[in-house]
Amino acid sequence: MNIQYITPFIQAAQEAILQLFALETKALTPYLVKKDETLDWDISAIIGIAGEARGLVVLSFPSGLAQELTGILRGAAKTAIDDDVVDTVGEVVNIIAGNAKKGLEQFRLLISLPSIVQGPRHQVLWPSGPVPIITIPFSTSRGHFSLSVGLEDLITL
């Protein structure tokens, strides 16, 4: 499996969470997911990648952690997934995807605006084709979240 191009996303995620929320993260063992798999999370932010590689970057949180992180930025506790939580999760995936481009400068990549999917056990529609989807779980002192990446031609089995 060629997953060297995953590293810039892992580094960007850890740096973003540390800078934005002063929260240390530990990247756990990455694993392959099936395209039709439902996600065991409450909210996901999705960024499309185009240019010299095509794919998706998906950042997923349980509602409690998403609300807690939003509370840190807003300075007020959140008790439900509202516009601020959606805004925060979208901005975090935007920062991760944009910052990861620095580690992938040999490819000219374009990133889309983030989209949000929410609801218990939601599903992400990945592009068709033989692109493997790698999920990297992260642990923090406040809970777990995950980052999934599928990049045509760059990440191969």
């Binding site: 740096e15 973003a16 800078q19 934005l20 939003t70 930025l73 807003r74 516009d83 601020d84 805004d87 925060t88 979208g90 901005e91 935007n94 920062i95 991760i96 995807a97 944009g98 910052n99 990861a100 481009k101 620095k102 992938l104 400068e105 000219r108 990549l109 990133i111 889309s112 605006l113």
Partner: protein, 126 residues
């Protein structure tokens, strides 16, 4: 000083505004816009002395707004600090070619914002 902060994320606009306030810019007037089109409307109708501008936004993105501003005589010397997640060198080069005064990669830190602000204001006073 009238400062316009343009970002489609309200959370990010607040972070930039609060970071600027923490740098003692408490007596400034802060204006906000959620995309380039809204920013253009504000810039056409109100005096703005400094612009903080995101890149990836709906309607009119930050890069397109910079090009439009630099092609308009009255905005040719408006200080523009691009604040974006776009961290690749080719993005920085593209933004500088389009006419941004400086470039800051998100996540925003107080130190990073202060450094860019000082540099842009110094250049403006020379």
């Amino acid at each position: 000083m009238r400062i316009l902060i343009v970002d489609d994320s309200r959370i990010m606009r607040n972070i930039v505004k609060n970071t600027l306030k923490a740098l003692n810019l408490v007596n400034e007037t802060f204006l906000e816009a959620a995309d380039g089109q809204e920013a253009w409307s504000i810039l056409e109708s109100q005096e703005v002395s400094l612009l903080f501008l995101d890149w990836n936004m709906p309607n009119l993105n930050g890069l397109e707004l910079v090009k439009r501003l630099r092609a308009t005589a009255k905005f040719q010397s408006l200080p523009i600090i691009m604040v974006t997640s776009e961290a690749a060198k080719y993005n920085v080069i593209e933004a500088v070619k389009a006419g941004v005064s400086d470039y800051l990669v998100k996540p925003v830190t107080q130190r990073g914002l202060e450094e860019k602000l000082r540099r842009v204001l110094q250049r403006g006073s020379q």
